[in-house]
Symmetry: C2
Subunit: 335 residues, 2 copies
DNA sequence: TTGAAAGCGCTAACAC
DNA sequence: GTGTTAGCGCTTTCAA
């Protein structure tokens, strides 16, 4: 890595002349600018980003904290974040909380030492369950902005980007009701999470708004520690009538489908199933699973746009709460 | 963020005294050390990482370039990388090449301006296909180490971590042969990639080594741009006898299973199927897919260990070529 | 035992 | 039009 100083020596001019010339300053003569630029290119000069960061107190880097990268939803959000960040000239430092409060708090603290200009994150499950918020407040007090997506904290005032979870669940349930399904079950493996509660509420609201259809909704809560398939098998063993299933996390849908098929249900004739997920997560089920499709990459992109806008705006920016649309993808497990 | 300077003012001592005290230098008196540390804690002092980086010409940051984060294999490697990096006190800057040469070269160049101490990466498909290597050489010439995992370049001398791809494919094929399968097909959707070629070779070698069994192996190459399901359907349409299938990429397995079931094959009685993937990628197939299981997180962990060792070692380190074991996970789609 | 000063690479106000 | 200088936050040599 060649530096300005070395370039200056080679050119027999001062460091600041080189600096100004490379930045095309009008203070410097045409000829010099050309000469400097040429030499810089020849030696493949690149401004040292660390020095720039120190000088400007700006790193052009965003800290991203993801609860679980093996969850396709988060992977796709990260995809969106990275894409938009690159476009805006930002790097991302990625930390994975693995759903743990400790790791999340640690990452925030560690990166708040000047490594990043702001954070984009989704809250770890443990943090949500235990309602921890002090670590967020610490960061915000240091005037480092945080943007939360998907799993957000009511108790914290900051930019937020979420799915329209309530509406999505509402629409899916309404669809089953209008199909004529009477005994619908709601598989909730994420009841501890804010989004889980929201989606659950959406389902019940649909039932309420359509009571003339006389559909029933039974919520099956599965603790996050428990095996999905076993829990679902257990419920089926109860022999309650079921003709509709809504899964509000992004893996249960496939499990329900397989179990139902094994038990002899014709899908979708005997039973409709709707999963919750980004497209293409369960591409190989047969029949193909109908889903509530989150536009996960759009969540990532919007998050970056909102955060970068805040970072680069001269004037104070109002807190943003953005809702990302979803779509109901009816494939082969619904009528 | 409080700085050393501000602490020094509050304590009425010099900046260097504060610095030394915080680092527990023996030059400084016990009493002063205690006083300084206390005040530092009170004001929640954290050394500015950017300043440290500039001073030490070390960022304690690794640049990670992933071809496709939506591929579960890479997501899990990233998981391993992040986990081990955090353990070693490194941050990771994540870039996604999305299989494009341009993006890959760009990320390397961008981060080589002092942002990272070294790189961990897997080569983008486009880069491999076009055999581009100059961008790697540029970086290595700047004395910034690169470690390649999974998809590596023969033409470049650097640390490498790979699956034992040849052996994995060999063992899987041998298993099918010993099951008595005679007409085995090899679904190769990644023939352009080095790992694809290696796995393919492993399969053929097994056939050769076991010619007394009289098993046949037919390779079905699917261009990466083509739809897997359509291509597989097309092959099945040819009505060639098939009683064994090996899929050497990590999604085709599920597709083959569904198509075979739809066409009336009993699995595994009529046909054995083995997929290639990390565990739990296709957890909801029925019957459960047998797979060649990569230990993807181990790849990530090993990569970080090797790179960090190189970065922190005083003496020159020999180039490392590490092979990660796999396991053959026989579930329900094999006899 | 403590402090002053230089320097990592860069920019920008100010001199010349 | 070009150069000098200070300073971003930190460590470290050298001087007191």
């Amino acid at each position: 890595m060649i530096t300005l100083k070395e370039l200056a020596e080679k050119l027999n001019v001062s460091i600041s002349t080189v600096s100004k010339a490379l930045n095309g300053s009008s203070e410097i003569g045409e000829a010099t600018i050309a000469r400097v630029k040429e030499t810089a290119k020849m030696y493949n000069y690149k401004p040292n980003r660390v020095a720039l960061s120190l000088k400007n107190s700006k790193t052009k880097t965003i800290g991203v904290i993801i609860p679980n990268i093996l969850n396709h939803f988060f992977a796709k959000v990260l995809y969106g974040i990275e894409k938009e960040s690159a476009k805006q000239g930002y790097n991302i430092i990625t930390c994975l909380s693995n759903e743990l409060y400790e790791k999340e708090a640690n990452s925030l603290e560690l990166l708040a030492n000047g490594s990043v200009d702001g954070f984009i994150m989704s809250i770890a499950e443990e943090t949500e369950v235990n309602k921890k918020t002090d670590h967020f407040k610490d960061i915000l007090n240091q005037k480092i902005p945080i943007l939360m997506f998907d799993r957000v904290s009511q108790a914290i005032t900051c930019d937020k980007v979420v799915n329209n979870d309530f509406q999505a669940a509402y629409d899916a349930t309404m669809h089953l009701i209008k199909e004529g399904r009477k005994n619908i079950i709601l598989i909730n493996k994420i009841e501890e999470l804010s989004v889980g509660k929201l989606r659950s509420k959406g389902c019940f609201k649909a039932i309420e708004d359509a009571k003339q259809y006389n559909s029933n909704l039974t919520e099956v809560k599965i603790p996050s520690t428990e095996n999905v398939e076993v829990a679902i098998e257990n419920y089926f063993d109860k022999k309650q009538p079921i003709d509709g299933v809504i899964c509000i996390d992004n893996i249960s849908g496939g499990a329900v489908l397989n179990i139902a098929k094994e038990r002899g249900y014709s899908i979708p004739q005997d039973m409709s199933i709707i999963g919750f997920s980004d497209d293409n997560v369960l591409p190989f089920t047969s029949p193909k699973l109908s889903t509530i499709a989150q536009h996960s990459d759009a969540i990532g992109e919007a998050s970056v746009q909102i955060l970068v806008n805040r970072l680069e705006s001269k004037e104070p920016v109002e807190t943003v709460f953005k809702t990302i649309d979803f779509s109901l993808n009816l494939r082969e497990t619904t009528l």
